[in-house]
Symmetry: C2
Subunit: 312 residues, 2 copies
C-alpha cells in the first residue's frame, strides 16, 4: 500500500477558475500528487483544493501550489468575506492511514522553511505544527487579516513569523502552514439577510462562545444568494457529529423565525460521518459502510471467501 | 471487469446460525461466488444471504444453496412471523452493471428447471421472470403460505408450478425464483405491542393500500423486543426514497402516540440511497459519493491525473 498524506490548501481566489486550474495543474505536475476535489466559492472569493501525495513528494507539491498562487493572485486587490492573510492562505497537512502526525509536523516545517526562504513569504505554523500555544489556533494567527498584518508584522512581537521575512510580502501576503487531523467543513445557508442572526447561531455552536467542543463557526453574508451562511469546521465529527450540530442550528433558527435553505460540504468527508447521518435520522442500529453494496463489491476482490464467512 | 449477478435468497431459518453458515459455505464452494452479507432474524425465523457470482456459475451456486437448505431445514416444524412457502422461500436474481434483466430471467428459468427436476421442489417464477401477470407479484404466490399451499397445490389451477412437481415437497415446501431490480429491505420498530397500529402504518405507505407507488409493507409482532415492526421493501428508492417513507411513518406514528425506536437495513443498500438521506436531512445540494474521502482515494488508482483535472 502506498502511504499518503492529504493536503487541503485554501487559496484567496474563488472567481477565476483558470487560476485555480493552474494551481491544480502545478500540484499534479509533481510525482504521486492527485487532486481529489476542488471547491470554489464566489462570495468567500476563496477556493479549497484537496489533494493527496506520497509524503516524500508533499513538500514539492505544496511548494508548487504556493508558488503558482503567489504568481497568479494579488492580495493588494483581493476582497472576500472569509478571513485570510495570503494568496495561499492556509496549508494543512492531514496524515492518512500509516502516516503519523509527527511526520505531518515535519513536512509543515520543511515546506514552511522552503516557502519562507525561496518565495520570501512569512510563514506561521499552526495547530500540531505550532511552536507556541497561541498559534495552535488558526484564528489567532489570522486575527487582523492581511490588511492588519501588513502593519502589525513590523512592530507586534506576537506576529514574528516562524519562517521567512518579518515583513509582509505585499502581493502574496503570509501563509499559515499546519498539521491537523481530519475535519469537516460544513456550511448552512439561512433564508435571511440579517448577519446578526447568523452570528448568534454561529456563536451558539462554537466552542469559543460556549457551544460544542469541536465546532468552530463564523457567519458570512452571501450576496450571490441574498442569504446568510453559518460556516463551520467540525474538528472531531465522532464526538460532535454533523447531525447534532445541524439539529442545534435548526432549533436556534426557529427561534428567529428563519429557515435553513440548504447546506454544503466543502471538500470531502469521511464515510463514518455519512454513516452518522443515516444512524441519527433513520435511527438505524449500527449502519456502516459494511451495509453499502458498492463497498462490499470492492471488498470481495481483496478478501478470500473463507474470510467473509468467518466474519459472520 | 468481471460481470456479476447478485442473488438475495431468503431461507426459512433464523435461529440456528450453523444452518445458515452451512448454506453460505455451499454457496462459496462454487467458483466466483462471494457472500456479501448475511442477515438472520429470530422473530421472522428467516435469513437473507446476499451473494454475487459470475452469471455462468449462478445456477450452480443457487442450486447448491437450495439443496443445502432442503437438507437442513424442515418446513413441517417451521414457525415464524414472516410469510413463507419453503425452506428456500424466495430466490431473486438481481442484475448488476453489465448483466441484463433478460439474462437474469434466463438464469431464473434454468435454476427453476434444475431445482424442480433434481430436488422435486415446486417452483414459481415471479416478477420479471413471471410467466403470468398474476405471478409478477410475489405476494400472490405466497398467499396462503406453506400450510395453504400443501392443500391448494393439488386442486387450485392458479397454484400449478412453473417447474417441478404439482405436489408440495413436505420437508422443503416450494420456492419462488425470480428476476428483479435492486430493492431496499428496510424495517422500522415501533414502541407498541399493538399490531393493529403497525398494520395501519404499513397500509399508509403500501402501494396496494393507497400508499407510495414503490413500497410494499407488512407489520409483524416482534416478541423478542416487545415491539411492532413495519417491514418494507422499497422497490425504487430513486422515486420513493427512504427519507420520504421514514418521515411518513414518523408522522403517522405520532397520530397514535407511538414512538419509532429504531430501524434496520436488511442486506445491503446502494450508495445513492445513502446519499439521499444526507441530501434530505441536511438539505445538502447534490451530495454524492464524489464527496466521500474513501471513495475518491479509491478512484485515484483508476484515474490519471489529467482526467481528474478535466472533470473540474
Amino acid at each position: 500500500m502506498t502511504r499518503l498524506i492529504e493536503c487541503v490548501p485554501n487559496f484567496s481566489e474563488g472567481r477565476r477558475p483558470e487560476v485555480i486550474r493552474a494551481i491544480a495543474q502545478a500540484i499534479i505536475g509533481v510525482k504521486s500528487a492527485e487532486v481529489l476535489d476542488i471547491h470554489m466559492d464566489i462570495d468567500h472569493n476563496r477556493s479549497v483544493i484537496t489533494f493527496v501525495c506520497e509524503p516524500e513528494f508533499a513538500v514539492e507539491a505544496g511548494f508548487s501550489a504556493i508558488q503558482k498562487a503567489a504568481e497568479l493572485i494579488d492580495m493588494t486587490t483581493h476582497k472576500g468575506v472569509h478571513p485570510r492573510i495570503g494568496a495561499c492562505d492556509v496549508f494543512p497537512f492531514v496524515p492518512l492511514d500509516d502516516v503519523t502526525m509527527d511526520e505531518a509536523v515535519k513536512l509543515a516545517n520543511r515546506l514552511g522553511q522552503k516557502v519562507g526562504k525561496e518565495l520570501q513569504i512569512p510563514i506561521y505554523l499552526y495547530e500540531f505544527a505550532a511552536k507556541t500555544p497561541e498559534r495552535q489556533d488558526l484564528a489567532n494567527i489570522r486575527r487582523g487579516q492581511y490588511e492588519g498584518l501588513c502593519q502589525s508584522i513590523s512592530y507586534d512581537t506576537s506576529k514574528v513569523p516562524d519562517y521567512g521575512p518579518t515583513k509582509i510580502n505585499l502581493k502574496s501576503g503570509a501563509t499559515a502552514i499546519g498539521a491537523r487531523g481530519p475535519l469537516i467543513a460544513f456550511n448552512v445557508f439561512l433564508a435571511t439577510q440579517e448577519k446578526s442572526i447568523g452570528t448568534k447561531i454561529a456563536n451558539a455552536i462554537s466552542e469559543s462562545k460556549g457551544g460544542f467542543k469541536f465546532v468552530k463557526s463564523l457567519a458570512f453574508e452571501i450576496r450571490s444568494k441574498n442569504q446568510i451562511q453559518v460556516s463551520m469546521n467540525l474538528t472531531n465529527y465522532q464526538k460532535t457529529p454533523i447531525s447534532r450540530v445541524f439539529e442545534t442550528i435548526k432549533s436556534e433558527t426557529e427561534r428567529y423565525g428563519v429557515k435553513i435553505v440548504s447546506s454544503e460540504i466543502v471538500g470531502l468527508i469521511p464515510f463514518d460521518a455519512v454513516a452518522d447521518v443515516v444512524n441519527f435520522y433513520l435511527r438505524v442500529e449500527g449502519f456502516s459502510k459494511e451495509k453499502v453494496l458498492e463497498e462490499k463489491l470492492k471488498q470481495i476482490t481483496a478478501k478470500s471467501n473463507s474470510q467473509s464467512i468467518n466474519k459472520f
